[in-house]
Amino acid sequence: MARTGPKNSARRVLVWLGVILAVLTAVLAGGTMAGQASWAPKLALDLEGGTQMILAPRVEGGSGINEEQLNQAVAIIRQRVDGSGVAEAEISTQSGRNVVVSLPGTPTKETRALIQASADMNFRPVIQAGDGAAVPAEARTPEDKLPKPTAAPANSSDENWVTADVYKKFEALDCVNPSQDKQERSDPAKPLVTCEPASDGRPAIKYILGPVEVKGSNIKNSSFQLQRGAQGAVTNEWAVDIQFDDEGTAKFKTVTERLNQFYVAAGGQSGSDPKSQFAIVLDDQVISAPRSQAVITDGRPQITGGFTEKSAKALSDQLRFGALPISFEIQSDQQISATLGGEQLRMGMLAGLIGLLLVVVYSLFQYRALGFVTVASLVVAGALTYLAIAILGWTENYRLSLAGVAGIIVAIGQTADSFIVYFERIRDELREGRGLVSAVENGWKRAKRTVLASKAVNLLAALVLYFVAVGNVRGFAFTLGLTAIADLIVVFMFTHPTLQVLARTKFFGEGHKFSGLDPKRLGAVPLYRGAGRIRTPEDKPVPAPRAKNTGAAAEAERRMTIAERRLAEKQEQLAGSSKSASKEGK
């Protein structure tokens, strides 16, 4: 059974293609059953509706923003958006300058204000700390037992800040599953009830914090390094260093003097008075609350304890960022209605389908039965593209935008082009007088190079656009590249093998006049002409007359009868020197 030959290898390739399609479908089906994927591709904002804001971060002092700060800005905005309870928001950077926030639906004014607000970092002393979970309703402190401040607070760590309201808020606060209701930006002169979200295996903690004592803008710099032990030898503990400016140094000294007393009173290392803690608050969320183990007089505190390199770097970045209050200027704020996008998509699809239909009609017209191969190839390419987009939507969160749809529609033409190049090559080979089977093989050899070279240009364009361009252009570039790849797969694994198989059928192989490969219609001169006559090199196509007399020759051509023309050709051939070695099929 081990037959070989083009036909069998063609069948094998077709089977493989079937396997690829089946596997992709199975992957998608599996994802759908698991409830993670869906059969429909994910849609981008312009088709789903929503709001897109483009924000330009501005650093105080007007200096430009570098990449690191931009990434920080994204992190900050992401935290804000997530905190405001908007699901499925997408935040990305654009051209190394801007932050693009895409939200489904219409954000409230508060969300908008929050997203825009400048990042706000400050230091507040901890008054109380507690387990992150909300106290169950039945276990909450009854009204009469709630704390009642007895005097005006003496300093920021004073328990007198904790009013009944503050305490109620503190008990109700759930930091394990943070609620998604909007929080107003806090008042720096008032206490704040807030969370330190769970991270790196540390549980979430909730705090009552005193008023702001040191502002983030007082930070001059921050770095992270491996901690040095008492002898100056490097340990394997990571530490974050802060450097305050003069104002910050003075303030920080006062604060640590106070907090350190709590620390000492509580028994130093073994103690655990939350009042010795100093919370670093970014956008009203505690990012770290180290204990004050010493009085810092030089404005260079070091934070240690349980850092990994990654978490140390993250904290250090946040601190440095806090030193630069970044505000965001709205560059564009677009509300995109879903109906509009949907309508555009429907119309686009409709127009695309009509266009596709026209392509089908045209190729049937041009290529007769071969046109069906084009149609089938386009269908396979479409199926591959669709599966890829749906799977990427699930795994990579790729969303199809209107520009992406446009990319797909544009690709119809470029995909069909590979088939056209290939078919024309086969026809050229038939014109040279080859049989269909060898015409398919030879035509493919020559078409393959062209297809690969031209697709390389397309892929290059798609790649460059994808990596350089922004916004919409990216979605477009992505589908353009995707379809180029799908097209290559289809030409190699579907169109060519299909033709190899078809070439051996009676209908095509004998050049039925509707097969689109009728040698007679292609003016072919068969190599073997019966009666033992073999085509001689002289039977080659007539050379083009020189430019000068083209017109005259064409005119003469028109006026000749067939017999006359035959004669004229014969004369030409007789005249032709037999030395002209022909080089065909290279």
Partner: protein, 335 residues
């Protein structure tokens, strides 16, 4: 269309041949004039008709309107801001889009109210948007950077593949002609330049190069054995290659332009302005120009660039010589 196959045969054998290369002077002249006009026109007109993304401004969308009369929207805006020139367009079904210069918050609210009344819709069917002028500039800047990188890489890729920089140069010249003339058409017709149009524009350039690569590949094939042949001169071989791929060029152009045209002409009625229309317009214009540029600019230019090479000059002489001999030999032969 049965004759189309015959047409293809005749082109293939050289029985029917269009002299693209021989009359290159005419094509170059036409191309040069078209490019020059395309450069001058925007200068004279003072630039392009830029979309809101480049000018910056406020945009209102009114959905579910009963009456698609643009005048209603214009009046609503002018009542609030006298002397303004809003652009009102029907973007889809029953949705109107009204673009104005940048308004302050108060004006936005007033215009919103005015539009609600004018089109008889409810409050939440009117949305307002603000677009900053830097957004479009940003897109364009990135697109231009992308373009520069793409052109550089494509030039290297083609030079490596074809093993001659002259092909790269000719292909890029064809692309440049496409670029200028497409831009010129935009300036002439006052089509709105939006980010979508920019995308279309970039695609056109990639299409233009793509198309050229296919034709050049055939040229490369035809001219690879040139030194050992006295059948045709280099220029004639180039011309034959263009003729032999002409059917493919026409077919590909048709196939590429049909879906785009469908969006443009079928969609425009149903769709009004918007991403798809802007994009397909740029593509429609560009694919036509790009296909023509390959045939009339890139290929003849390549022939012209290489004609003067000593080897090719010698070969051309040999061809002449042989033809002269043939003519002499053929004379005594009578039927």
């Amino acid at each position: 269309m049965a004759s189309f196959a015959t047409f293809g045969n005749d082109l293939y054998t050289g029985k029917r041949s269009y002299d693209f290369v021989g009359s290159k002077k005419i094509w170059f002249l036409i191309a040069a004039v078209a490019v020059a006009l395309s450069i001058l026109l925007p200068v004279v007109k003072g630039g392009f008709n830029l979309g809101i993304e480049f000018r910056g401004g406020s945009e209102f969308t009114v959905s579910n309107v009963k009456d698609r009369d643009a005048a209603l929207g214009e009046k609503a805006v002018q009542d609030v801001v006298s002397g303004s020139l809003p652009r009102v367009a029907n973007v889809a079904g029953n949705t109107m889009r009204i673009q104005t210069d940048k308004l302050n918050d108060e004006e936005v609210l007033k215009v919103k109210e005015g539009l609600t009344k004018a089109y008889g819709v409810t409050d939440n069917e009117v949305t307002s948007t603000f677009v900053g002028p830097t957004w479009g500039a940003d897109v364009t800047k990135q697109a231009l950077i992308g373009l520069a990188i793409f052109v550089g890489l494509a030039a290297v890729l083609m030079a490596l593949y074809f093993r001659t920089w002259k092909m790269s140069l000719s292909a890029l010249a064809g692309m440049a002609a496409t670029m200028f003339v497409t831009a010129g058409v935009y300036s002439l017709s006052d089509f709105e330049v939006t980010p979508s149009a920019i995308i279309g524009f970039l695609t056109v350039l990639s299409y233009s190069l793509y198309d050229t690569v296919v034709v050049f590949d055939k040229i490369r094939e035809n001219t690879s054995e040139l030194q050992s042949s006295t059948r045709r001169t280099f220029a004639e071989e180039v011309n034959l290659a263009v003729n032999q791929t002409l059917v493919r060029s026409i077919n590909t152009m048709m196939v590429a332009i049909l879906p785009v045209g469908a969006i443009l002409f079928i969609g425009a009625g149903l769709l009004g302005a918007g991403t798809l229309r802007d994009l397909s317009l740029a593509l429609f214009v560009g694919i036509l120009i790009g296909t023509a540029a390959t045939i009339f600019v890139a290929a003849p230019l390549y022939a012209w660039l290489r004609q003067g090479e000593p080897d090719l000059v010698k070969q051309a002489k040999r061809v002449e010589q042989r033809r002269a001999e043939n003519a002499a030999k053929a004379a005594p032969v009578t039927a």
